[in-house]
Structure formats: structure tokens, C-alpha cells
Assembly symmetry: C2
Homo-oligomer: 314 residues x 2
């Protein structure tokens, strides 16, 4: 009974070594060169590898997706008919909240304007609203969204969230479903996307959504922050909105196509802050601990945390 | 019995109106043109006005300094021999913690490096340590320092503070006095100054202090953040340290001389983030409420909050 590492964009042998360190007596294989007999494989750790690699293993019992997002896997045909578990790692959650807090603070404290003044050696104070006057709205109130909301609340921001179903989070206004989407947008100065990428969220943040954000806010125009998936926004609409004033500014860590092409007009938007999908890197050691613990518990009592619902998409 | 407004750099008549709104039946005067008979004056609100204006009032009972720092007043001769109260305002505290959290996050998340990459249209991921691996050290653990420490702790940073006397703050290592100063510096990657400016803190952060900061930290060199008073650092030493690598970077909101001269070499330091003394602006309405409440309580039972000790300097 073997465990398969099937990853792209990460060093396979390092992942093999990490699992070997935790399970020295188990048979650890790797795709594409050391799969061996697929019938031996019971568990797999995967990231952006073809789903077919997994479904070709007839005795597979469990698949771990090495990240919070599982769109890389669910978007494929040939999905194995076994439980898929996504990584929920406190370190990843903390990194995501850090990045979001940084971006909200950057816009709230007018960093781009002060940086421009610094380049010109200009000493000029800008009017500064209180955090309580800035309405942040988070799309997605799962583990990541709830933690980001909590950090932003501690910083004094007026925070609301929108999700499929109503959530109860102390001090956070919860909006839910299609019926409350427009009301959520209308009270939001800074829109933060943390939604998983699914059929329903693909292209969600388009011009019509940006136009529904609050325009009477203290920043003088709405801000969009995306740390979820680039597929959830329409990049051409973002560029147009950044250039015509529909958006005051944006912070983007994710893009429709990654790496972002050097030709993308986004690079030229001076009111956009771009980072190369680094908001919340997974710590491979923490992920390895998480997976080892889940395997041992699954073998002991058959239970699993953070199981993905393929129909729902996350 | 009159109240005197004696401010420089703020509009006097607006301050008169604010106090008039809270005390419509009282005699509100203003320096320099409407002081009237100094013997009438019992209370004063002052900011950067000559102390002599206050000490010339023989029946003065109470002086309010319109800000958290009182160095503008205590540095002068002719200090009136009456209680001096400084403003401690939750809105000001929250703004200070915001600015400090922003600056710590900017350096922690390598914003300057990513901004440079963005200008070059470069997509490159930089290694990112966890917040728990970054040791922030706060000089000054009063109201402002304690709140900043709490916010930084919530963001996951490893936080310690240094102050004259030992403090007990949950989750924050407390260092105290001269004896523990070097040990505090040696464990600090990011030094945040929030000390009041006194005879003891003037010029405190000089080259010798910068050289004692940790050099083995996760950012590849120490960072200095000053939101207290510019007089607490030696600017020529900062410039040299930023240019020769003794400091990895700095964020400065306060300077030896303000406004910072267009000729200052600091403007040219690409590893420095400069803001024009805006970290924590006082909200005049909140200050006015605070002062009105203190006056009423002083008249009722003689007690005062946040009274300054002129010998201590804050």
C-alpha cells in the first residue's frame, strides 16, 4: 500500500523526503517517473497534476490537494471517485490575513499617494479618515475569510462578509446569497475576494459588480483586492475600471493567467498593487504534518477534516 | 473664570468654536489676540505656544497639551506650576497602531522589493518567512506601545517591548531599564520607537544602537520604524546605516526637523519609507470631548487622567 506524490511546480523529491520523514516505513512513490504499479497506491498528494494520474489507480482511497484551492483538480475530467481533502493550515490562514491586512492598510493610509510625494520630496499631510469609517466587504467567509475579518475588525475597520449561507461572526455583518449581494456591494468601500473558484464564481467580479460598490466612501472611490483566484475577476473590466475611475485602486495577487504576461496592461496601472501569487504560500512542513495526521486518523476511525464537495466546488 | 486657547499650527478660531460648542456659557479666550486679563484664566489648551503665555496667568489651574507628546511644552522654560494633562484618545491610539502595523507588514511582506519588481513587470516569488519568525521590539510600552504590541501579536509577530519599568502584557516579552536594553536590541529584527521625547531619549537611537540590533533575522538585516519623535533618533546615523547596510530599511514618520527639508539625504534612500508626521493625527472633536469631560470631573472631584510628570518628561 503506497502513497503517491503527484505535483507540478514543486520539487517532487523534496515532497517525497518530507513524507518519508513522517512515514519512514511506508512506500512513497512519485509521478511521473516512479509510480510503479498503480494498483498499489492508496493515497495521493497532488498539486496541478492531471487527475487522470489519480483515477488510474484502482485502489485509491484518499486524495490530498496541497493547497486551500482545489480548482486545479475539480476543473478536470477523470476526477477520482474518492474523498478529496484540501489543506487548511493555520500558517497559511495567518499569511493570507497578513497580506489582506497589509493591502487594506496600504489603501486606507494612502500609501500610494505618500510614496508619490516621497519621490517628489513633498511634505504634505493628506486628510485621513478613521478605520471605523472604512467599510470592508469580504467575499467568502470560510476559514480564510473569517480570520481576515477578525484581523480587520481588530484594526478597527467596519467589516462585513458575503457567503453562500449566512454566517454568525461577532462584530461582522453577514450577507448571504444572491438576494443580498447587491446590498452587500452597496455598503462596501473595499471589496476583498477570498471565494474559491467554482462554476458559480468564475468571472463574478466584472464591471457590473464594480459599478455597484459604494462611491460615497471615505477613500473617494472603491478598491478591489483579490487574494482568492484570478478566474473570479474579469481582468479586462478591472483594467478599464482602474483607468476610468470606476475603481480608485486595486491590489491583486491572483490573475486570470499566471504568471501575468509582461504585456498585461495591469502592470501599467499606477493605482494597482500587484504581487505574484504570494499572499499565502503553503508551508510544506506544516502541510506535511497536517497530511500525516489526517492519514493516521483516517486509518484509525475513518474521519477526515476539510473534505471537498466536488458538486459545490470547494 | 476663562479658558484660553493657545495653539500654533492649528486654526485658533476653530478650536474656540469647538470649546464653545461644549461650554456655551463659559468665557473662551484665545492667544495671541484675545487673551484679555490674564488673571481671569483658569484653564488652557495649548499646542506649541510659548509656555510663558501660560505662566503669565496667575490663576491658572490646569493646562491641557493637545496631543500625546508634551515635549513641545516641557522643553521650554517658564513652565506653569500647575497640572499638565496630555491627550490620550482611543482614536489616536488606533491610528498609531494602524500606521505601525502597516509599516511592519510592508517590511515583513517585502513590499519595496515587490513594488520594484512590479515597475519592471517581473513575476518572481520571494521567500517569505512566517510572522512568528519576525521579532518586533517596541521602545515604549505606554498606552500607544501596548496597543501596537497587541495588534502586532494578533498578526502573529513575535513581540517584545522595552520601557523604563517592567510591564506585564500577555504574550509580550517585557524588557526594562538600562540593564536590559542591549538584550532587548539583540533579540529585535524590527525596532519600533514610540518613546516620548525627554532628556533621556533625545538622540537615543544612534549608530551604536542600530549596530546592536539582530543581524541574523529573517529579513536579512534590521529595520527601524519611528512614529514617536524625530528627536529620539540621530538622522545622520540613520542615513549612513541605510546606505551602508547596517539597516535593511526604515519607516519614518517623524524627523529631527519638521517639515523634513527637501535637501535631506533621507528622501534619496530607496530603502526608507517616509510619511509627513501623519501616523496618528489627533481628531480635534475627540480631543475636545476628552478635555471637556476632564474639566467637568476636575471641578467635581479634583481628579485628572494622564497627568504629566514634568521631571520624568511625559
Amino acid at each position: 500500500m503506497a502513497l503517491l506524490i503527484a505535483v507540478k511546480g514543486w520539487d517532487t523529491q523534496t515532497w517525497v523526503a518530507r513524507l518519508k520523514a513522517r512515514f519512514p516505513d511506508r512506500d512513497i512513490r512519485s509521478w511521473p517517473n516512479a509510480v510503479g504499479n498503480p494498483a498499489d497506491i492508496r493515497y495521493a498528494l497532488t498539486w496541478k497534476a492531471p487527475a487522470r494520474v489519480l483515477s488510474d489507480c484502482p485502489n485509491m482511497e484518499l486524495v490530498f490537494s496541497l493547497g486551500a484551492g482545489v480548482d486545479h483538480l475539480l476543473g478536470q475530467d477523470d476526477l477520482p471517485k474518492v474523498p478529496i481533502v484540501r489543506v487548511v493550515d493555520p500558517d497559511l490562514t495567518a499569511r493570507m490575513s497578513e497580506w489582506i491586512a497589509l493591502q487594506v492598510l496600504l489603501h486606507h493610509r494612502q500609501h500610494l499617494a505618500y510614496a508619490a510625494q516621497q519621490r517628489e520630496r513633498v511634505w504634505r499631510e493628506l486628510e485621513q479618515p478613521s478605520a471605523g469609517d472604512l467599510r470592508v466587504g469580504i467575499l467568502g467567509l470560510g476559514v480564510l475569510g473569517a480570520d481576515a475579518a477578525d484581523v480587520l475588525k481588530r484594526l478597527g475597520f467596519n467589516v462585513a462578509g458575503w457567503s453562500r449561507s449566512k454566517k454568525t461572526l461577532e462584530g461582522i455583518d453577514s450577507f448571504a446569497g444572491d438576494a443580498e449581494f447587491d446590498a452587500f456591494l452597496a455598503r462596501t468601500d473595499v471589496l476583498v475576494n477570498l471565494l474559491p473558484l467554482t462554476a458559480e464564481t468564475r468571472g463574478l467580479v466584472d464591471r457590473s459588480v464594480l459599478e455597484k460598490l459604494a462611491r460615497d466612501g471615505v477613500l473617494g472611490g472603491p478598491v478591489f483586492i483579490n487574494a482568492g483566484r484570478g478566474g473570479s475577476h474579469v481582468e479586462a473590466d478591472l483594467v478599464a475600471a482602474l483607468n476610468d475611475g470606476t475603481l480608485k485602486a486595486a491590489s491583486l495577487d491572483v490573475f486570470e493567467t499566471e504568471p501575468l504576461s509582461p504585456d498585461s496592461p495591469l502592470w501599467a496601472c499606477e493605482n494597482a498593487i500587484l504581487t505574484p501569487h504570494v499572499a499565502a504560500d503553503s508551508d510544506p512542513e506544516a502541510i506535511s504534518d497536517y497530511i500525516a495526521a489526517q492519514i493516521l486518523r483516517f486509518e484509525a476511525d475513518g474521519t477526515l477534516d476539510n473534505r471537498v464537495d466536488p458538486a459545490r466546488g470547494y
